[in-house]
Subunit: 189 residues, 2 copies
């Protein structure tokens, strides 16, 4: 069982600040879907906003535009194959949750399910910006709730408990990096 | 000496796809500046576009709006202190290149200087989107030239030659992650 704790909204950007690859979950009208997205990042601190690029051909795009909502799930290295798989097939071809044996649990403020086994979750409501959506496939959203597995993130800090529980950074093909060594630097006086 | 090679524009997104922290260089009217930016990511593949968030209070913002150009430089772990320092002071207080002993070399397609010792460089021209700039501090730009140190990136792949030559992922305060272990996964049949 994961010990899932709320993340203070003013610190929610720290879940994304290091540039991890995300998994996007969405739902509308009884249909839900899951896909991978490397192109997600913070846009503002408080209230927290995020940017997400969603290709116009995807089922996720249809569900996000219809519902005005999505969740960003931060997967672990243990979920790298699943991350590649949800990014390599369309929800129009069949239910990816069932096909890939992906367990979920309910979000609090939106309709999209959250993916079990991830490190953190950001529940997001789209701020409608039709020009960006239509011209650039770019979505701006406000983070309305954020959660993290306390084994990996607490008090505004990541502390990955094991190598297969580190976050992921996607390159291309099936190539990823794990999030590496943490270190601190100080300003010289 | 770094062996700097051109990166094919269709593969330039791979310089940013894993979410590294960047250093932004800019210039206009004889003034140049350098600052850190964790909030930069790809927006499109070919022609490549990027997103960059630039706070409205910064000298960089003024130079980018005036010139319509900026460069994204990808720093190494060896440059982590410099990355923190250029993100912690304003170019209005004095020339950060001189104060922090930052060497540069000329870009090819834009006026901003490129920072020596980095892993890769993206020369960018702003696509004017005033609503995004004014409301969200968000800039959309096309990548017009891209370069990489061939010791770290070639044939579309990263291969960091040493631990202090890995890219960086910023969290907050002086806390960073290094880019970690590379690995590949395959789709199950």
């Amino acid at each position: 069982m994961q010990n899932i704790q709320a993340v203070e909204l003013a610190k929610a950007y720290r879940l994304l600040n290091h540039g991890p690859t995300t998994i996007v979950t969405s739902a509308h009208g009884g249909v839900s879907n899951v896909m991978a997205a490397a192109w997600a990042m913070p846009l503002d601190f408080d209230p927290p906003k995020v940017l997400l690029v969603i290709d116009s051909s995807t089922l996720t795009r249809e569900l996000v535009e219809a519902s005005g909502e999505f969740a960003l799930n931060i997967p672990t290295r243990a979920l790298a194959e699943t991350t590649l798989a949800v990014g390599s097939s369309s929800g129009r071809e069949g239910d990816k949750f069932a096909a890939l044996d992906i367990a979920t649990f309910p979000s609090e403020k939106i309709g999209a399910p959250l993916m079990s086994g991830c490190l953190a979750w950001l529940e997001c409501k789209v701020i409608p910006e039709l020009h960006n959506q239509q011209r650039y496939d770019l979505f701006i959203a406000e983070v309305v709730a954020a959660w993290a597995d306390s084994a990996a993130f607490s008090a505004g800090r990541w502390h990955f408990p094991a190598d297969d529980q580190r976050s992921l950074h996607y390159l291309s093909g099936g190539a990823f990096f794990a999030t590496g060594e943490a270190f601190n630097v100080e300003l010289k006086p």
